[in-house]
Assembly symmetry: C2
Homo-oligomer: 130 residues x 2
């Protein structure tokens, strides 16, 4: 079921910002970066667009143990690790052990198509500092 993707001016501008960010911007970050580029979209529009872009899978919504959602245009499979202390996020590009996933599927009976994992740890700076 291939769907037609309707990229309005607003959606395209928002997608551009996310694709050109190498951190994981929140909605507020995105709005700020849009302003720098001369766009002043309504909050509602930005949130609507983010939901749309997530639905058509051009971006991924990350809930990284914070109160805000962050957005990521990297759609290849990868995971994230968040620092418990300062919140810094790193990408984990290491492939998940297939045997482990299989075991989870067998035990929980959940289907896992695109494994999406958020891991917690303590980043180098924070763990050396204390």
């Amino acid at each position: 079921m291939t769907q037609k993707i309707n990229l309005t001016l607003q959606r395209k501008a928002i997608l551009d910002v996310i694709q050109q960010s190498d951190d994981h911007p929140s909605a507020a970050d995105i709005i700020e970066r849009l302003r720098l580029r001369g766009f002043n979209f309504a909050y509602g529009t930005v949130y609507n667009s983010l939901r749309y872009l997530t639905e058509v899978e051009l971006i991924r919504e990350l809930k990284l143990n914070e109160s805000v959602s962050r957005y990521d245009a990297r759609i290849e499979e990868h995971q994230h690790i968040v620092c418990k202390n300062c919140g810094k996020v790193e990408e984990i590009m290491i492939e998940l052990p297939k045997a482990w996933i299989d075991e989870i599927v067998k035990q929980t009976r959940y289907q896992i198509s695109d494994p999406h994992i958020v891991m917690e740890g303590m980043c180098e700076a924070c763990s050396s500092g204390k």
Copy 2:
């Protein structure tokens, strides 16, 4: 550094509710269950207590890709899988592959003391239904 744990009436009642729940109640769930037991604590108190109990590690705060925090009194290491569709949460009691964790530590330089993973999938009911 062992700390003295100060369990006031309110904190104890809240801890009891969480320990006696086998789902993962949110703050609102907890307040509701407290009411059923005849307790009417202020919102602020419940949130303060939850933060305190988390700090002294009697409970764990779970951020399961939702807008609310959930709380879990099982402190043994275990992971969670959330259904993308209906939000149902299951525990994963399968041990994490040590080699994988080691690889992550090596690559990201994050210290991982108590791995805490949130996985996404589609539960049996939701995946058979569509």
